[in-house]
């Protein structure tokens, strides 16, 4: 990006250069006239005779840089704009020159018109116009030539440009005119100009309309050039008859080389464009193919649905091969197809499909085919159809044929090999686009699912209590860590009254959001029933009754419910299918699993559940230990696939049964992780340890 400051500076410099151009031109006119008048009257001129030459070169230099800034730096200009600028400059020059002629004609018989001063003035004006026209064209042609440049081309151009500028010095200092040097230099520049004129790549990028415009502009430009050259040379001759002491551009290598170069390039461009006209449509078509291809490729990023990819495929294919009609048949499932059509009715396309199918033509409509088929010969037998050519392409996504693209023409043999290739590429690309599209859709779905799990996990975590009931008779430590997938382990405590505390541990079958949902139901049940002094078995019976209505088929909840009575120092409990309690009795010095009975909640969906659950009772004393856990712990596997199991759990607790609850728990958890050998557990680990004192 050009900064604003730079832009303003460039503008100021352009203006300055323009003023310098005007001033130098005026100076040129003045000096040239004074020399001419003096010599015509045989007086020794007061102005040195070499001065006009230098001023002319200054004029040329200022114009050179003026147009350099104006044309070369303007990035917005396109080819036709450039030609238009050259044409406009030529037009102004020609009109001004013609106006002068008119003035001359009107004053035809007066003495003034034959006067040398008047003639020279007219000549000077024409010379100035010619040089600015040439400089303008030079800058414009430079841009055209250097479009798509190579290193070699850049070097050649630099040689041409700087060489020409160098001749200005040669001309300024009137180095004694050596005929052969002059000729050689001029020859070199003419040849270089000719070589450079071979660079016409820009012509290919014009479309049909632009080519016509360019032809007209170039034709007029050439005409203006010829007119100006003619005017100047005739004026030159008429002055030359009077005096030789004036600025004669014919010895100026720069101006002469420019004349040759600008004219040659204009004529070359004109001819090249003219001969390019018939092939323009091919080039335009190729360009359109590229654009179409891009559109299909980009459709994956921008389009909202598969449908729009299909529509783009249809449109681009039709426009690339000039098809008269087309359809895209997409298989939604084995029996159902969806049609996207272009300039053809559904009925017509179905007629053709049925016709081809009924004639048992093995081809693209047969889903097994992988190849593009030209089915034109089969169309001939279909009566009443306006189409005589058909080309069909399969579209593949991950190796599955998801549909067929058919292109139709009313002409017989309307498709050539090129077209087949192009559309084949299109349909491949569309297949990729659709595949990417589906992958993205899947990724989004996954992302949504993950997000859901995250929420479920959060819900599950929030359902677990942060504080557990404590009592002078016991302390409780609890731990729960869930796998990546949400599990449904639940534990909680509630104080019923001063002497009673209820405890629950439960495991909801299944995982994910439903598990979290059932867990919250279990929590609700516990918090409503557990508030009251309720018998453990009737707790389970009521809980079962409540859960039957919300647990779906195949889901159940295992739970153990305890009521600790600190006054009577006894515990009543009921086990509904949950892992057996591991109990250490200090008095008996024994550590063992309780052997009891009870069916999990939700398994028996009628009143008979009361037959499958019962309450048990035992007394506790100081030093007793109750270890509650879920099956995630006993089923934790090591790298050989062996389970942690009940025996290992018992042994681990035995090592530390004398320690406080929290320390027993820490030991158990660290043993468990050590056993599984990984931090990535695949189930939930939940333990609750009650130590009596």
């Amino acid at each position: 990006m050009v900064s604003t400051g730079q832009f303003v500076r460039t503008k100021a410099i352009t203006r300055l250069l323009f003023s310098v151009g005007v001033i130098t031109w005026l100076a040129l006119v003045f000096t040239d006239l004074s020399i001419l008048v003096s010599t015509a009257n045989n007086i020794k001129p007061e102005v040195p005779t070499w001065l006009p030459g230098i001023i002319l070169n200054l004029f040329i230099l200022s114009l050179f840089y003026y147009y350099k800034l104006k044309i070369e730096r303007d990035e917005v200009l396109n080819f036709v704009d450039l030609l238009w600028r050259v044409f406009a400059t030529g037009l102004i020059a020609t009109v001004t020159s013609l106006a002068l002629r008119l003035v001359e004609f009107l004053l035809n018989d007066t003495k003034l018109t034959t006067h040398i001063i008047f003639k020279d003035l007219i000549y000077m004006i024409n010379l100035g116009l010619m040089i600015s026209f040439l400089m303008m064209a030079f800058s414009a042609w430079k841009r055209l030539i250097l479009y798509q440049k190579s290193k070699w081309l850049l070097r050649l151009w630099a040689f041409f440009e700087f060489g020409l500028l160098a001749t200005l010095f040669y001309n300024s200092f009137r180095i004694p005119l050596v005929e052969w040097l002059y000729g050689t230099l001029f020859g070199i520049f003419v040849v270089t100009g000719l070589v450079l004129s071979g660079n016409m790549k820009w012509v290919a990028f014009l479309n049909f309309r632009q080519k016509w415009t360019s032809l007209l502009l170039l034709l007029l430009t050439v005409f203006y050039l010829l007119y100006i050259f003619y005017t100047n040379s005739s004026l030159l001759e008429s002055i030359r008859n009077v005096s030789t002491y004036f600025t004669d551009y014919r010895y100026h290598i720069f101006v002469l080389s420019l004349i040759v170069f600008v004219t040659v390039y204009s004529i070359f461009s004109f001819l090249v464009i003219l001969f390019n006209l018939p092939t323009t449509s091919v080039f335009e078509q190729k360009l359109e193919e590229v654009v179409n291809f891009q559109r299909i490729s980009q459709s994956i990023q921008t389009e909202q649905s598969e449908e729009s990819v299909y529509n783009i495929l249809l449109e681009t294919s039709v426009s690339s091969v000039f098809a008269d009609a087309a359809w895209l048949e997409i298989n939604i499932n084995a029996r159902e197809q969806k049609l996207f059509t272009y300039k053809i009715t559904d009925k017509e396309s179905h007629d053709i499909i049925n016709h081809l199918n009924s004639h048992n033509i093995k081809g693209v409509f047969d889903q097994g085919s992988e190849k593009t088929k030209n089915l034109s010969k089969h169309l001939a037998s279909l009566k009443g159809s306006r189409f005589r050519s058909i080309l069909a392409f399969p579209i593949f996504v991950k190796g599955d044929n998801i549909g067929t693209l058919a292109l139709l023409k009313e002409l017989p043999d309307g498709f050539n090999k090129e077209m087949t290739k192009i559309v084949s590429t299109f349909s491949n690309q569309a297949g990729i686009s659709i595949e990417n599209f589906r992958l993205m859709e899947e990724a989004l779905q996954n992302e949504r699912y993950k997000e859901e799990l995250k929420i479920a996990k959060m819900v599950q975590k929030s359902l677990l209590p942060t504080l557990l009931e404590q009592d002078k008779d016991f302390e409780i430590a609890a731990f729960s860590e869930s796998a990546d997938e949400v599990g449904g382990d639940y534990y909680d405590t509630l104080r019923v009254n001063q002497d009673m505390v209820s405890i629950i541990i439960a495991d909801v079958s299944g995982k994910g959001t439903t598990a979290a949902f059932h867990m919250s139901q279990m929590k609700g049940i516990f918090h409503s029933l557990g508030q009251r002094d309720i018998e453990p078995d009737s707790f389970m019976i009521q809980a079962n009754q409540a859960l039957v209505y919300c647990l779906e088929r195949g889901s159940f909840i295992s739970a153990t419910y305890f009521v600790i009575n600190t006054q009577a120092k006894k515990i009543r409990y009921a086990r509904a299918g949950h892992c057996p309690v591991l109990y250490y009795s200090a008095s008996k010095q024994s550590l063992e699993y309780f052997k009891d009975k009870g069916v999990a909640l939700g398994m028996v969906r009628n009143k008979s559940y009361s037959n499958f659950i019962q309450a048990y009772e035992f007394n506790y004393s100081c030093g007793d230990l109750m270890v509650l856990y879920t099956d995630g712990i006993t089923e934790a596997k090591d790298n050989k696939g062996e389970e942690f199991g009940y025996d290992r759990l018992l042994a681990t607790v035995k090592e530390v049964h004398t320690l406080p609850a929290k320390e027993i728990q820490d030991h158990l958890i660290s043993k468990l992780y050590e056993f599984s050998g990984t931090d990535n557990i695949d189930d939930d680990y939940t333990t609750m340890i009650v130590k009596f004192s």
Binding site: D507, S509, G510, K511, R553, G554, S555, F556, S558, A576, G577, H578, C579, P580, K597, G598, V599, A600, M603, V604, R605, N606, F612, D631
Partner: protein, 114 residues
């Protein structure tokens, strides 16, 4: 991974479970039982002798048929469980809801008695 084989003996459909039943393979177990019921069998024996592990989802499948079978008078007996698998059933209390035999002979006996 679970591999399920079915064969018919004395008018009973024997579904043999080979391998492990976890959350994903429990669907296959469900399908196998549903198919057997769909084919009109009223005596279904489930051979668990090659069953190495069953998760709660797998147990849920058996559980889900209990009531339906009772209503339609279909008899299902499981047999040949390893100690570990039997323990899984008994912890949940499923041994009280399902008919479980020691071996095929005993299982056939139970099915015929019911």
């Amino acid at each position: 991974m679970i591999h399920i084989k079915r064969l018919q003996e004395d008018g009973a459909d024997i579904i043999a479970l080979i391998g492990e039943i976890d959350a994903s393979s429990s669907i296959e177990l469900d399908l196998a039982i549903a198919k057997s019921v769909g084919e009109g069998f009223i005596k279904i024996l489930v051979d668990c002798s090659a069953l190495e592990y069953i998760s709660s989802a797998g147990l849920g499948v058996f559980m889900s048929y209990i009531e339906e079978f009772k209503d339609r008078n279909i008899k299902m007996v499981l047999f040949g469980m390893s100690e570990k698998v039997a323990n899984t059933f008994s912890i949940l209390g499923l041994n009280e809801l399902l008919q479980i035999g020691k071996d095929k002979v005993q299982a056939k006996q139970i099915v015929n008695e019911l």
